[in-house]
Amino acid sequence: MSMHHVQVTINGKSHEADVEPRLLLVHFLREKLNMTGTHIGCDTTSCGACTVQLNGRPVKSCTVLAVQADGMEVRTVEGLAANGKLHAIQEGFHQEHGLQCGFCTPGMMMTSAALLEENPHPTEDEIRHGISGNLCRCTGYMNIVKAVQYAADKMAEKVEA
């Protein structure tokens, strides 16, 4: 079978590799690049644990082929913190205890971060709808919603300051 050369910019850094067409983006990240921050949850396009941003939009990386990402930009949970400082959404999950086991957290944060970039002041309803493709089996979502609200406030503060 044929191999395909791909170049993907991940968290601002260019990566190149020869891959089989059947390699899923999540396996490319975790197994080829050892970036294990992105989790594999259900393997059925249901749970959203593997969510990454592809050209700025959240996608389930278990349902994208690595070859499809050729020439594109991927942002993973490893790319959220910058200059040794947590991203507002990470700080929100920390401060509001938006997790228990933490398995859904990377995907949850990649979706919420994109949501806040598109809609900096979401209502509770908009947050709940926005994260409805990401499943959490621990928290009951209460603290996740609070974490996103915390991040929205934090990001607004930064813009105003």
């Binding site: 079978m1 044929s2 395909h4 089989e20 067409p21 059947r22 899923l24 396996h27 393997d43 059925t44 396009t45 249901s46 959203g48 969510t51 939009r57 959240p58 996608v59 389930k60 278990c62 349902t63 994208v64 082929l65 070859v67 499809q68 050729d70 979706t111 709808h129 926005g130 994260i131 409805s132 493709g133 990401n134």
Partner: protein, 289 residues
């Protein structure tokens, strides 16, 4: 789960994509991939060749022209969902995309893929039946127009030839005093419908139905056009009594089977209830409410 091996091409033009489909036995089009890639992971589908049309230019757009809303087949569901034009003038389509799978899947899933897949659990088929839409397909002989009423042939089977690509979906621009609605029961966000009903109506000045379209999701081998219910309402006044009688005819047209989502009786009952509610909402919207 890892799909079986396959060959892959990502052409930049439609003619190259059509040619690639013709050159290989068991080639499949990769659109948004949100149904096909899971099927391949489960090894329920094992195409020898994927023709990825995500890099083909000019297949993603939404515009109104010549009395139609024209949607390029590679338009992402999230783009339709957020379109001000769709939200303002096409409430049935707006309703449909807002409950179609989940917000992350909608970022990649495409309108064309949702229709071409031929899955009775997909949401656009019933909506397009209610709208009286048509689709265009391009193959080696060029483009042809297929009315949506003859598009869904069977379970995962459509009128598309193996080397044809669905390129555009066209919805008739609604006349004044038109309205629509899509109501869906799902066990959780992202699940296929237990049952869903799509309704599009047009009223005259006396609140009589000028036209009625009713489509049913996931209660048969294909999406179902509830023609007996539509014919019953045409020319009649939009009263609750008439709506309830039509809903019974829609429920009679459903061919559900019992599965994990519910019994046959439950699904038929959902169709009846949702047809009443969707017709009421469509009428309310047609009156400007």
């Amino acid at each position: 789960m890892i799909p079986p091996s396959f060959e892959y091409v990502a052409p930049k033009t439609l003619s190259e994509a059509v040619a690639a489909l013709g050159e290989h036995e068991n080639a499949k089009v990769l659109a948004g991939g949100q149904s096909l890639i899971p099927l391949m992971r489960f090894r329920l589908a094992s195409p020898a060749m994927l023709v990825d049309i995500n890099r083909v230019e000019g297949l993603a757009y939404i515009n109104e022209a010549d009395g139609w809303l024209k949607i390029g087949s590679m338009t992402r569901e999230s783009t339709v969902d957020k379109s001000p034009l769709v939200r303002e003038k096409y409430p049935l389509l707006a309703d449909t995309t807002s409950v179609l799978s989940d917000p992350i899947v909608r970022n990649l899933g495409t309108v064309g893929g949702n229709i071409a897949n031929g899955d009775p659990g997909n949401d656009h088929p019933a909506t397009m039946l209610a709208y009286g839409a048509e689709v265009t397909a391009v193959g080696p002989q060029g483009e042809r127009v297929i009315p949506i009423t003859s598009f869904f042939v069977g379970l995962y089977e459509s009128a598309l030839a193996p080397n044809e690509i669905l390129t555009e979906v066209r919805i008739p621009t609604p006349k004044p005093r038109s309205g629509g609605a899509y109501l869906k029961r799902e066990r959780k966000v992202g699940d296929f419908a237990t049952a869903a009903v799509a309704v599009q109506v047009e009223l005259d000045a006396q609140d009589n139905f000028v036209s009625v379209g009713i489509g049913l999701t996931n209660v048969g081998l294909t999406a179902i056009k509830a023609t007996a219910a539509e014919d019953f309402l045409k020319g009649k006044t939009a009263t609750d009594e008439n709506i309830k009688q039509a809903a019974q005819l829609a429920a009679d047209a459903a061919q559900p089977i019992a599965d994990v989502r519910g019994s046959e009786e439950y699904k038929r009952s959902l169709v009846k209830t949702f047809t009443v509610r969707a017709l009421r909402l469509a009428v309310q919207r047609a009156k400007g409410g």
